[in-house]
């Protein structure tokens, strides 16, 4: 362990090469491209042209506005839900429903949210019919807002929910015993220790909304945001790669600042390292209040997705609600759509397998070896966390456009692996760090080589994490659109990008059928992983 073994060094070199080829060089090329002028020289003219372009400035303003409002609403709702789950005695099954229901949006492509919202609030929407009139204009700000809130709520909730676990609820009782008033007690024992997490949830929701493409692609209407501008610049009627590069760099900016903020906010988090399980006191008013709030949020979200499950099974939503298999059968009879679904499966499986191997290998190097320069992996992880999918995809397009990688599954898979690297890497690192540091030495003294110890001891003890990493990569590869929109070709189209095409032909039934397929596939993978994880747990006991 002390002086790096050859096999460790080889793994390290492979990982370094991967990140150089598929993260650093593409980003550098993107930067250079943004400064490259028409005559081939280097200069700021692209930036000047873009920043004097009223439409773009307007779109940036719109993005800031709608992302900011989203972040405020999402953080508030996520906090209410997390508080309800962790600090109240609301009806137990409701808690369970919140914890599971909130995750549903993660299983569905964001572009589908848009159509679900249309079918709920639009001219012919479910709620519109119920109320007999349009509640509000959904194309533009309102629609984006609803979509972004749904999209960012799961991530924000998980972040705050996890922080709640580190709060010692005994302090709530202590504070009460000290005679604190409700508000003061709430501030000192809940809000203050959670400030970091709340700030984090705000920043995270902001970045996610700012960089998402799926929701504006379906609901944006004439309300332009940065993501749609970037798409227009690259794949619109007159592609302008220089402008695209500039917009991508501009999109990267808030993301970089956001990640720094997230790291900074991390410091505000309290870490009670030893905390006790504490009985939560009852309070009729509090419990009914939070019970109602959580039920409303959850039902609101589910009602929007409900149309996605209803539409494909009725003849012509919402006019003719008679049951039919027609649409489902139609999709399965269409070679085109079946092959798109197959493509998605191929991409997701490859991403999950290769991604898990790379992220696990990186974490292994970082957490369990003393190889020189192993900290670079942390830097990679921070960078991949910063770069939005659209920016990464665009930089691949610029770099690999002339190469044989263009239009292959491999380039999509690599883009996904880099795009979603941070979370699985941190999962693995976290698990590996907690393991007994003496295992490699013990294995070696008992005659194993390093690789053999990893295979015989380290891996069997982290199966649960590996499954978690696998399903994370799989689900995200299944739903992502921003990451792959620039990389798919006619042969490699995946479901999410196909939906973007189908909307131009108003084939909403097909859109919903495909979305339900993705949802069910993700649900299946997630459940299988969970069953396997449980099995491992039992087997370990």
């Amino acid at each position: 362990m002390r002086n790096a073994k050859p096999e460790i060094r080889i793994i390290f070199i492979i990982i370094l090469l991967l990140f150089f080829a598929f993260l650093f060089i593409p980003l550098i090329v993107l930067f250079l491209r943004s400064f490259m002028m028409e005559d081939g020289g280097i200069g700021l003219s692209n930036y000047i042209a873009s920043l004097t372009n009223d439409a773009l400035i307007h779109a940036i303003g719109n993005s800031f506005k709608v992302s900011g409002v989203t972040a405020i609403i999402t953080t508030t709702l996520a906090f209410a839900l997390a508080y309800a789950v962790n600090c109240t005695k609301i009806y137990q099954p409701l808690k369970g429903a919140v914890k599971i229901g909130i995750l549903i949006p993660m299983l569905i492509p964001t572009i589908t949210y848009g159509f679900a919202i249309m079918y709920t609030f639009g001219n012919q929407g479910l709620l519109t019919k119920l109320f007999g009139r349009n509640l509000f204009e959904i194309y533009g700000f309102n629609g984006l807002l609803i979509g972004y809130v749904i999209y960012t709520l799961p991530a924000a909730f998980l972040l705050i929910h996890n922080s709640f676990k580190y709060i010692d609820k005994k302090f709530i009782i202590v504070s009460k015993l000290m005679g604190d008033r409700t508000l003061r007690s709430f501030w000192n024992t809940v809000t203050r220790p959670l400030l970091g997490a709340l700030g984090g949830a705000f920043v995270l929701s902001f970045i996610l909304s700012f960089t998402d493409f799926g929701i504006p692609a379906s609901l944006g209407g004439t309300y332009d945001v940065v993501a749609t501008q970037l798409y227009q610049a690259m794949l619109g009627s007159i592609p302008d790669f220089s402008e695209g590069a500039v917009i991508a760099v501009l999109m990267l900016f808030p993301a970089v600042i956001g990640i720094f903020l997230l790291n900074y906010l991390e410091r505000f988090n309290f870490h009670y390292d030893k905390f006790s399980e504490t009985e939560i006191t009852s309070s009729k008013f509090r419990d009914s209040f939070y019970g109602v709030i959580s039920a409303i949020i959850l039902l609101g979200m589910l009602s929007i997705f409900a149309v996605m499950f209803i539409t494909p099974f009725v003849t012509a939503f919402p006019y003719d609600l008679s049951f039919t298999w027609e649409h489902i059968a139609g999709v399965f009879q269409s070679n085109d759509l079946v092959s798109v679904y197959k493509n998605s499966l191929i991409v997701a499986v490859l991403t999950a397998v290769l991604g898990t191997v790379i992220a696990y290998g990186s974490a292994l190097l970082n957490a369990r070896t003393k190889v020189k320069g192993r900290q670079t992996v942390d830097v990679f992880s921070m960078i991949t966390n910063t770069v939005p999918g659209m920016v990464l995809g665009l930089s691949y397009l610029l770099l690999f456009n002339g190469s044989s990688l263009k239009g292959t599954f491999l380039i999509i898979v690599l883009c996904n692996i880099m795009h979603y690297f941070t979370t699985p890497y941190l999962m693995a690192k976290n698990a590996l760090t907690k393991m007994n540091p003496g295992w490699e030495t013990s294995g070696e003294l008992l005659g194993d080589s390093w690789v053999k110890t990893v295979y015989r001891v380290i891996l069997p003890n982290s199966i649960s994490t590996v499954l978690e990493m696998f399903s994370y990569y799989f689900m995200n590869a299944m739903v992502t659109i921003s990451g792959v929109i620039f990389l798919v070709s006619a042969q490699t189209t995946v479901v999410a990008s196909k939906i973007n095409e189908l909307q131009h032909f108003a084939q909403f039934n097909e859109i919903f059928v495909l979305s339900v397929l993705i949802f069910l596939t993700n649900l299946l993978v997630r459940s299988v992983c969970e069953v396997l994880q449980k099995k491992v747990e039992i087997y370990k006991k």
Binding site: N436, L445, R456
Partner: protein, 251 residues
């Protein structure tokens, strides 16, 4: 003579942790490394094991300089303070883990003997999580003994155990060393433990050898104030407390 340490020094980024350690350990002896927290005991043990590299000095084993021999090839083995047992395997699988790698290791006969000797038979099928502290300790010991180490190293083998079990493991270690004529080095920070278990004691203070000798020598000819103040004083307080508890009639 079996193990010889010559002029061993160790620094971790400028900070001197061990300074000029010279020492000879004879075959079959049990030697304790005794010293306060941070004095460098674990570091010295890891140097002997080959886990920690030394820039200065030599480790000589049976007249052969092993200073630059890799840990794996020295033929020593260690039981870590936290045992580092593999939780996905049961007790038996842990014990025989190293067998498939080492041809010169223990035979099936030997393994049975270790298991009997350490009274592990009833626990072989148990998972590591189901074992008590003392049982884990014995499994770890068995796993190490199976590789037939030429030198057995134990890092604080007793500190995680409670009273009665502590005494029985202590006896067990002693008898293993005698029965298998195994040279054993034990790290501890408890003077009573060191003096009762070992043939010789190496007292380390701030990276230096304070005294090296038999229990008799340490008690009767303490070499300096550190030995007197920190080692003997502790024992005297303990003795007083015990006398006090049991009353004069036991004195």
């Amino acid at each position: 003579m079996l193990l010889e340490l010559q002029n061993i020094s160790k620094q971790f980024d400028q900070k001197v942790v061990l300074e000029n350690i010279n020492l000879t350990i004879n075959s079959g002896e049990i030697v304790s490394l005794l010293g306060p927290s941070g004095s460098g005991k674990t570091t010295l043990l890891n140097i002997i094991l080959g886990l920690t590299k030394i820039e200065q000095g030599k480790v000589i084993f049976n007249d052969e300089d092993v200073s630059h021999v890799a840990m794996k090839n020295r033929g020593f083995n260690i039981v870590f303070q936290d045992y580092a047992l593999f939780p996905h395997l049961n007790a038996y699988e842990n014990i025989v883990y190293g067998l498939r790698n080492k041809k010169e290791g223990a035979s099936a006969e030997d393994v049975r003997e270790y298991i009997d000797f350490l009274e592990l038979k009833p626990h072989l099928k148990k998972r590591i999580g189901e074992l008590s502290g003392g049982q884990k300790q014995r499994v770890a010991l068995a796993r190490t003994l199976v590789t037939k180490p030429k030198l057995l190293l134990l890092d604080e083998p007793l500190s995680a155990l409670d009273g009665v079990i502590k005494e029985s493991i202590k006896e067990r270690i002693k008898s293993i060393a005698k029965e298998f004529n195994l040279t054993t080095i034990i790290v501890t920070h408890d003077p009573e433990e060191a003096l009762t278990i070992s043939d010789k004691i190496l007292i380390i203070n701030q990276g230096n050898i304070s005294q090296f000798g038999t229990p008799f020598e340490i008690i009767n000819q303490p070499k300096n104030d550190f030995v007197k103040e920190f080692i003997l004083r502790q024992l005297q307080i303990k003795r007083q407390n015990i006398f006090h508890l049991f009353g004069e009639k036991y004195a």
